[in-house]
């Protein structure tokens, strides 16, 4: 039987386009939204949720929102004594606009607000200089952010011209000095004592006296210069912290908390991993105590008990008390984050550093901490975010932070309306969200940038 070949294909078939139902928008929807009955139900449910949540929000904010007006009539319905039709329910952004300055500065004197503005610009500059990678002069930027910026802001915001006094067993008082002179005399005395002790120790241990004494003197000169700047009268009108308020107070508390908690957190974390039992147990007690209590009680403590803890003549302002409470609290949290990083560094790194003959602090500064901190950047940033959100709690002890200022604005009958609270809170939520969300985005960005290991 002869073989008969009917058809042999000698070219490849033309590639057909994929079926329309599997490509493009339709295909994507079939794959991601409507594959199977269960998923279809879920999708419909989700659509319903979006409709029932998103639409009222859009309606409240944009469609019914009132952007201009001078008093409560624009934000109330006819039945409530206003001009809006009955059943109207929308955001009263005119009220937010009218109070915007108060939300930002609190009762900070109007003619002095440029000082707050300059501080804000300095903060932005410091942040850019430190946070944007690949900018030159990183070292100087850090110096600016860590020393120049805080000193400048403190002087600008308070007005400077602090009264200093002797602090060392009344020694300078014996010499008839008082005020600023007494302070600097005492500082010099302490500097000499510490430097002398350092010199003796250096002699005894056979190390180079210069390498011990010079840094000590430098630190004391630095302290002296900073304190001198605080003491000088720049001609700025003093502004009590009692009139500070709004976003200013929120930023002061969070920036202080962040800058204080990082170094203290590192020290506490090192203390907790120390070989010395006393230092280790003290660190553990400190950390666990602050982490075990709510921030509210810490703030109550610092506002009620701190004045009792100190000698009767010490005058403490309210903001400073809150700052101390927040700093103690956040240091403990930071310590645990940093400890996580320290634990993740392999032992070989420690041993390698020791084998090179580095001292403990050299090892930490140059080998361990750079790696450990890099590992825990997400944790550090989320602690910062937590701290930033927690600053709202100070309104409970009677400070007017951003939220406190908004809350207190409800007392004014000029803008009283049923939508006032919701408008104010939405504005507050939006503002806080901008800050915290950008912090978390920055953390993700840094994490990816520093992710030098292998990616999958």
């Amino acid at each position: 039987m002869a073989q008969q070949t009917y058809y042999v294909r000698d070219t490849l078939a033309e590639q057909q386009p994929a079926p329309a139902s599997t490509t493009g928008l339709v295909g994507w929807m079939r794959e991601n939204l409507f594959n199977g009955p269960f998923n279809t139900i879920l999708t419909l449910l989700a659509l319903y949720v979006i409709y029932s949540v998103a639409w009222p929000v859009i309606e409240f904010v944009f469609i019914n929102g009132v952007w201009t007006g001078d008093d409560r009539t624009v934000c109330t319905t006819a039945a409530q004594g206003g001009i809006q039709p009955d059943g109207w329910f929308g955001g009263c952004w005119a009220y937010v606009g009218a109070y915007l300055n108060q939300f930002m500065y609190g009762r900070y004197p109007f003619e002095e607000r440029w000082r707050v503005d300059i501080s804000a610009i300095l903060l932005v500059l410091a942040l850019i200089a430190v946070l944007v990678p690949n900018l030159p002069f990183k070292r100087w930027a850090l110096l600016f952010a860590a020393i120049v910026f805080p000193v400048a802001t403190i002087v600008l915001l308070t007005g400077g011209h602090f009264e200093l006094g002797g602090f060392f067993f009344g020694l300078s008082g014996l010499a008839g000095l008082s005020g600023d002179f007494a302070f600097f005399a005492d500082l010099a005395i302490v500097a000499l004592i510490v430097a002398g002790a350092g010199l003796l120790a250096a002699r005894a241990t056979g190390s180079n006296p210069g390498s011990v004494v010079v840094p000590i003197i430098a630190v004391f000169v630095g302290i002296g210069v900073i304190m001198a700047i605080f003491a000088v009268d720049f001609g700025l009108a003093p502004v009590e912290t009692a009139v500070w308020g709004g976003l200013l107070v929120t930023m002061v508390i969070s920036v202080t908390g962040i800058t204080v908690s990082l170094p203290f957190g590192v020290l506490l974390a090192l203390g907790r991993r120390s070989q010395m039992p006393v230092i280790r147990s003290l660190s553990v007690i400190f950390i666990e105590f602050w982490r075990g209590v709510p921030l509210i009680t810490v703030l109550f403590m610092s506002s009620v008990m701190l004045p009792l803890f100190l000698p009767a003549d010490t005058d403490f302002d309210k903001l400073l008390r809150a700052l101390i409470g927040v700093a103690l609290f956040s240091s403990a949290y930071m310590a645990e984050v940093v400890r996580g990083g320290l634990q993740a560094i392999p032992r070989g790194q420690y041993e390698g550093a020791m084998a090179l003959g580095l001292t403990f602090w050299q090892m930490m500064r140059m080998i361990i901490l750079p790696q450990a901190l890099k590992l825990v950047i997400p944790g550090i940033v989320s602690t910062f975010i937590g701290l930033f959100k927690d600053t709202t709690l100070v309104l409970i002890i009677g400070l007017f932070d951003f939220l406190g200022q908004i809350q207190s604005s409800f007392a004014n009958p000029n803008w009283a309306s049923p939508v006032q609270a919701l408008s104010g809170y939405l504005f507050a939520a939006f503002t806080y969200w901008i800050f915290t969300f950008s912090m978390s985005r920055y953390s993700i960005y840094t994490e990816q940038r520093l992710h030098t290991g292998h990616k999958r």
Binding site: I296, M301, M305, T392, L403, A429
Partner: protein, 395 residues
Amino acid sequence: MTDSSQNGGVERTFFLNDPKVRAIIYQVVMVAIVVWAGWSIVDNTATNLNERGIPFGFDFLTAPSGFGINQSLIPYSESSTYGDVYWVGLINTLLVAVIGVFFATILGFLIGIARLSHNWLIARIATVYIEIIRNVPLLLQLFVWYFAVLRLLPAKREALDLGPIGLLNIAGFYAPKPIFGANTWMVGVAILIAIALGIGIRFWARRRQMATGQQFPIGWTFIGLLIVLPLIAYFISGDPITFEYPELARFGPQGGIRVIPEFIGLLLALTLYTAAFIAEIVRAGIMAVSHGQTEAAHALGLRNGPTLRLVIVPQAMRVIIPPLTSQYLNLTKNSSLAVAIAYPDLVSTFTGTALNQTGRAVEIILMTMLTYLAISLLTSAFMNWYNKRVALVER
């Protein structure tokens, strides 16, 4: 290094260079500083209290408080003592914390799983929820719920009828009140018997599976027992539980159990806030189990359900539990924000009102802090124990 026996008895280094000596010196200095600081704090406090004429002591706890508390699970009246205030506050704190933990866990797991859903919309909704809730201060959310949302409810004399669930208005939520008849104890006994039987069956099923390899649906049996037995007891004992439904009378809802709006606001805020954090923990936990585990389970012939139950979840739980614990603790500690909306928790009643009335700042704040500290330490001790049980045993 300074072993003198090997270099002819000559000390080659000065004693200050010996790390051990240095360590001792550092620690002595540290102890001295701490003792000095502690002593001066105590001394200053004593002096300051003396000057202000405030005595120190805990005798005020037995004095009558003279103020009312609008929610109390134990008998409390205005003639009760400050000690009672402490207990009322503590119980209210624990109440909102426990209920909050319960709902936050359920909601958190749901949202965490939703964020991993293959359904694009569901995953996006979960992401948006998490990103909004996590990035807005809890206190602000509490204010929104209490001062903005709950204020939109009907006024005191009207109410939103939720049908069999109860009535809702600005003065709170009125739930049906169960009234237990004489034979209710039989239902309770039935529940206990069901639990005991369940444990027994589990024990037996384990043994049988070890011996023969045959499996037994323990979970379904247990749920069945737990439903059927009490139902039988309920009908045998003659329908003992009746509900007193709240009704809208002239001056507002009457009857039923009233849940104060402060509780509702606080519970809503705490639950929704903590759920967002729990969701992220759950997501991270599930993602920490590598895909190879799923593939291996499928290769062994396990279907999707058992794969999830026997392979994925036990491994994910190991990652989830430690951070979950700290979220529970956070919720408990965050419940102290109640003071901002005057829910009568520990901080609000005891550290707030009682402190203002007595002026015993040191004692009261110390007691409050130690209470929270004790709750934290106990919870973490328990969770550490549990964590050790489920932890991977490595050889």
